[in-house]
């Protein structure tokens, strides 16, 4: 018999409390059992959320090579000096104590100096929160000063940055100084003691051995935080280092391919959020390498040939459609954009209009280079024959309008080959009118001029115009007139194409087909053998084809418009072109040349377009764009003598 039994007998009211205590005990046991045995997973998850932190470290990006294995884009070490705030906690406390003491004394003196009537006890209490940040800032700035003393820099760290880091990135190192030069890095390595909280962090930044070569095609990257979808959704708070994301060119198009695999670290943290022990680690892995079709020697030759002039140049492998060189000027030095794009550099590139890839992102009237399409259309339509001739007197009348030939006194009687050689407008005015816009428009479309090429460069322009009656009615709201047809026949008027498209047209003609699928990926021998461009046969008889080629070859002859392009020992066929168009409120002259060589077995197709704004310049396809193409052909001979027939 227990004591309680005695009480129970004496006072039955105790029974009530007995049951209450029993019930409470049972509730506790059941509750404990519930939480420990049944709901344990929920509490484990909560505990995990509270005590674990994940750090994501992006893997470095893959390298980009040219077709011969030259490194075009790689990774270079990117040095920075960092501190883990966890290592500074004692110093924070010590500095805080010092500051608090000094502040209390200051407030006390202020209090004593204040007349008794104006005194308040509250004025004796320091602003603890603010002083805490001041203490932290003092300590961190002390380390920055140390770095400054060693490196000769004058960097500072603001309280704002520190607060942001504390609140958002506590487990990640705070960057004190970024983008250290190799000598600064070496000095810090040698002069900062190993035990110092300052750590010299080595990350990666994109590196471009050829500076600005193929800048628009290669593209650049930007530092961004990883896609939230890549972060596991398991409730663990995750801190992420910035990763590099392709923003243009191949870097953007092949971003998934080039991006490295993210590495993970999971840390157990203390109640204040500082790291305690490493629970899990997965090393980041570098992304895959990319081999491009670009030949850096041809690329550099084309860029040097174009020089400071505004324009574009494209060189294609006739058989495979591989892009051997693709140039857009003005350009920029890709190394200036790594590891980040300084505002000044961004503005400078913006002002020069250098962000635009003129080879694929802007469309222009093709000028007389389009006459090749007109010639093919006329031959296929049967409106012209091998004996067709026109008398060029320098002008051509269509209704009340006079259309001029560039030869003021005319070319005289010309056949198709002579018309191509001399770029006679009158011949093609007449042929255009004879076949009509429907035939001409259909032929241009057969060569894919109304569609994007699908090259692996983002933001290829869709502003491509192959005019037709329906197009004019729909877009301009006006009816088609014969003058529109003659303009289109010589590559003027509403027609808009990109330099890359004209390169594909040249490559297609060189192969006797209608389409060329350009690619920036280097093809293996097997893949190259199986390339199908998706077009059809050009549809000319042997005689028609011979006349077309005769005309194109005569362009690069002593009397042709492209005579400056002649190279001894190399037979080149092509077409020059000069066009006018209006952009940004001013008249822009365009000098074009498209060509292929060697004529016996065409290997490369070249398209060059140079923009000019001065009407007084001798601005013509042959004299302005031609020499650029000539330098490209010369470099081709240098690099591929066998393919050039040497």
């Amino acid at each position: 018999m227990s004591q309680f039994d005695v009480h129970r007998r004496e006072n039955p009211r105790i029974v009530f409390f007995f049951w209450i205590v029993l019930l409470a005990g049972v509730t506790l046991v059941v509750g404990l059992g519930w939480r420990q045995l049944i709901a344990n997973q929920k509490y484990e998850a909560i505990e995990k959320r509270q005590t674990e932190r994940r750090i994501l470290k992006p893997g470095p990006r893959g390298d980009i090579y040219d077709r011969k294995g030259n490194l075009l884009v790689g990774n270079r070490p990117h040095y920075s000096a960092v501190v883990y705030l966890d290592d500074l906690r004692r110093e924070f406390r010590s500095e805080y104590s010092t500051i608090i003491r000094a502040e209390r004394e200051r407030l006390k003196e202020l209090y004593d100096a204040t007349p008794e009537t104006g005194r308040t006890e509250a004025s004796l209490i320091p602003n603890y929160n603010e002083l805490q940040w001041v203490a932290r800032q003092n300590v961190i700035q002390g380390y920055v000063d140390t770095i400054n003393r060693i490196t000769g820099r004058a960097d500072t760290v603001s309280t704002k940055e520190i607060i942001r880091h504390f609140n958002e990135q506590l487990l990640l190192p705070l960057v004190l100084v970024e983008d250290l030069k190799p000598d600064e890095y070496a000095r810090l390595i040698e002069q900062v003691p190993v035990q110092s909280p300052i750590e010299i962090h080595t990350g990666t930044a994109r590196y471009y051995p050829y500076d600005g070569a193929a800048a628009h095609a290669l593209g650049y990257v930007q530092n961004v935080y990883p896609d939230p979808e890549e972060i596991p959704d398991d409730g663990i708070k995750t801190y992420t280092f910035k990763t590099q994301e392709g923003k243009s060119g191949l870097e953007s198009f092949f971003d998934d391919w080039l991006s490295g695999q993210i590495g993970t670290e999971i840390w157990r943290v203390d109640p204040l959020g500082f790291q305690d022990s490493l629970l899990e680690q997965k090393t980041p892995v570098q992304g895959q390498d990319l081999v491009t079709s670009i030949d850096i020697d041809l690329q550099l030759a084309a860029e040097n040939a174009l020089g400071d002039r505004t324009g574009a140049a494209v060189v294609l492998d006739v058989r495979t459609g591989e892009v051997l060189a693709i140039v857009s000027q003005p350009s920029y030095d890709l190394n200036d954009l790594s590891p980040f794009i300084p505002r000044k550099i961004f503005d400078s590139i913006n002002e020069r209009g250098a962000w635009l890839n003129r080879a694929v992102q802007l469309s222009y009237p093709p000028g007389s280079t389009f006459k090749l399409i007109t010639a093919i259309a006329a031959a296929r339509a049967g409106t012209t024959s091998l004996n067709t001739e026109h008398d060029c007197q320098g002008v051509y009348r269509v209704g009340n309008r006079i259309f001029r030939c560039h030869a003021r006194n005319g070319h005289g009687i010309v056949d198709e080959a002579a018309a191509i050689e001399g770029s006679c407008n009158v011949f093609f005015y007449a042929e255009g009118l004879r076949m009509g816009i429907d035939v001409l428009s259909a032929e241009a479309k057969r060569f894919g001029l109304d569609k994007k090429t699908g090259i692996e460069i983002p933001f290829e322009t869709g502003r491509l115009v192959v005019p037709s009656m329906e197009w004019k009615r729909g877009e301009i709201g006006a009816g088609w007139v014969p003058g529109d047809t003659v303009n289109t026949a010589i590559g003027q008027g509403f027609l808009l194409v990109t330099p890359l498209q004209m390169a594909t047209v040249m490559a297609s003609i060189a192969r006797g087909e209608t389409r060329t699928q350009p690619t920036l990926r280097a093809l293996t021998a097997e893949a190259a053998a199986e390339v199908r461009h998706g077009g059809e046969s050009i549809g000319l008889t042997l005689e028609q084809r011979a006349e077309l080629w005769e005309g194109m070859e005569r362009v690069v002859s002593p009397y042709g418009t492209g005579r400056l392009i002649q190279i001894e020992g190399l037979r080149i066929a092509g077409k020059t072109g000069t066009a006018d168009f209006r952009a940004h409120g001013e008249n822009v002259n365009l000098a074009w040349f498209i060509g292929t060589a060697p004529v016996e077995d065409p290997q490369i197709a070249v398209a060059v377009m140079v923009e000019g704004t001065s009407a007084s310049d001798r601005f013509q396809g042959g004299s302005t764009a031609g020499p650029v193409a000539k330098d490209i052909f010369l470099e081709f001979i240098e690099q591929y003598p066998e393919r050039a027939g040497f």
Binding site: G142, Y185, T202, Q286
Partner: protein
């Protein structure tokens, strides 16, 4: 009984009081005491080293005349070889100076040297130090590079009146910027904990991925001028393997150091001629 117990804990109490007093003593006093202790010990070390030299001298005196004559002959040969090399170096130096003058280049002579005897080795798992017999009396500065015929020895970390303490390249607290021979990209060399019986080793990190090292084709790690304290091209050690580091792009590996490092008798301290190159260690 109680008195007996108090007697037993007296040493512990004394130790506690001493530690408490040491804890509250200002840092300046502690530093002063440490320096005083070192200065107090130094004469004994210096005297011991002179006695060692004397012992060696008398040991050599005990050799027969024939042996001494032969040794003297060998010495004369070696001396003349060194004199010849010194003359050749001097000629080359003058030629370099002449070319520098013609091309208006700044002088590359950046260091003078002080040869010093090693009087004590303080080698443990935690620290690896040498005490050399020259200090402030020869203007040895803190941070000066210390070398020997096999390459880098270490760096001066403490200078007393007549002695200096050198942190050996094997010490885990020793770190310098380096590069692989034939490659200009900087890497980091750092000492590593020593096993005690094997040859000395260090570690290298931040090596670019395209660098390959193997036992058949080891790489030579050499110093670089970038850091400011060492002249370029001094041998640090040999790297026979590299493996990917945690960054996923740089490699890390082990550096095999010269075994003679642990039995050196004489070293040279390189003193920078440029006052701006003085090394101030950060906290």
């Amino acid at each position: 009984m109680a008195k007996l117990r108090l007697d037993k804990v007296k040493p512990l109490v004394a130790l506690g009081v001493f530690l408490a007093a040491w804890w509250v003593i200002p840092t300046t006093v502690k530093s002063f005491m440490q320096v005083s202790f070192a200065e107090f010990q130094a004469p004994a070390w210096v005297a011991t080293s002179y006695l060692d030299d004397l012992e060696g001298f008398w040991a050599r005196r005990s050799h027969s005349k024939v042996e001494l004559i032969e040794a003297g002959r060998d010495l004369a040969r070696i001396k003349s070889l060194y004199q010849f090399n010194a003359q050749r170096n001097r000629t080359l130096e003058l030629e370099v100076e002449r070319l520098e003058a013609i091309l208006n280049l700044p002088s590359r002579r950046e260091f003078r040297y002080e040869v010093a005897r090693v009087i004590r080795r303080d080698l443990s798992a935690w620290w690896q130090h040498l005490i050399i017999r020259k200090g402030r009396d020869f203007d040895i500065p803190v941070g000066a590079a210390v070398v020997f015929s096999g390459g880098v020895v270490g760096r001066v970390v403490e200078v007393d009146a007549f002695t200096s303490r050198v942190e050996l390249i094997t010490s885990p607290n020793f770190r310098i910027a380096a590069r692989f021979e034939g490659d200009e990209r900087p890497v980091v060399y750092q000492g590593a904990p020593q096993s005690g019986f094997g040859d000395p080793v260090g570690s290298v990190r931040d090596a670019p991925q395209d660098i390959m090292a193997s036992r058949q084709a080891p790489l030579q790690l050499v110093s670089t001028r970038l850091g400011g304290s060492f002249p370029p091209g001094l041998s640090i050690g040999r790297v026979t393997w590299l493996e990917p580091g945690s960054s996923g792009i740089f490699q890390a590996g082990q550096v095999e150091l010269d075994p003679r490092l642990l039995s050196l008798h004489e070293v040279a301290v390189l003193i920078s001629l440029s006052p701006t190159d003085s090394v101030n260690n950060a906290p």
